[in-house]
């Protein structure tokens, strides 16, 4: 599965994209796996209220199932316009 990070999530994790092997059933499970990896991931996900997620480029949330998902992106609330 491809995992993407944007804005300060990308800066904290240290890269914008990675391929991972995971059996996570939901976004929440995936966040748990990532935060357990290294301190920089824990720092990126420290405040989940400031983290938004998209699964296969559609807005999602922590409870969204990941069965069949190819791409998960994590980012702060958007600030375009």
């Amino acid at each position: 599965m491809k995992v993407l990070y944007f804005a300060w999530m990308r800066e904290r994790v240290g890269h914008g994209s990675e391929e991972i092997e995971t059996a996570a059933a939901t976004v929440s499970d995936l966040v748990g796996e990532l935060t357990a990896r290294e301190e920089r991931y824990a720092a990126a996900f420290a405040d989940l209220s400031a983290v938004r997620v998209a699964v296969d480029q559609q807005q999602a949330d922590l409870s969204t199932p990941l069965a069949g998902a190819r791409e998960v992106a994590f980012f702060p609330p958007v600030t375009g316009g």
Partner: protein, 146 residues
């Protein structure tokens, strides 16, 4: 193509001419342009986005606007990359037979773009570079459309 995400600047008059060409039923075009504000000594900003999802999100916003108002044409251009104070950031054009639909749809598109399209601004000012925080007032502006 009604939605573009690009580094280059845009020409508002040319975009408007292209939008209305060949449709004599258009009686109103509303144009909104967002600019990089220099408040607080801001000198530049870096606009990051999520290629692929950004275009989809803008297309969905356009489709939603077309479902709510009788629009003849819509054009949305959002820039990314490094922009200086005073530069154009975003252009929304809505065309309709009458002005009310065009006015309302332009406001709707901007309100949804602010809260749904995956863009992030990093501002550069006298105290360094900082990611812009999302504003509760933008969420409220989106929610009022129901």
């Amino acid at each position: 193509m009604s939605v573009s995400v690009q580094q280059e600047d845009f020409d508002i008059a040319a975009e408007m001419a292209r939008l209305t060409a060949g449709d004599a039923d258009i009686g109103a075009v509303v144009s909104f342009t967002g600019l990089v504000r220099g408040t607080g000594g801001l000198t530049a900003m870096e606009l990051e986005h999520y290629p692929g999802m950004t275009e989809k999100a803008l297309e969905e916003i356009e489709a939603e606007a077309r479902a709510r108002w009788p629009l003849s044409a819509v054009r949305i251009i959002h820039r990314h990359g490094r922009l200086a104070t005073g530069d154009n950031i975003v252009l929304v054009l809505t065309a309709s037979r009458h002005r009310q639909a065009a006015f309302e749809a332009a406001e709707f598109v901007m309100d949804f773009l602010k809260t749904k399209a995956p863009f992030w601004k990093k501002e550069e000012g006298p105290e360094g570079a900082n990611w812009v925080d999302a504003r509760d007032s933008d969420d409220a502006a989106t929610e009022r459309w129901g």
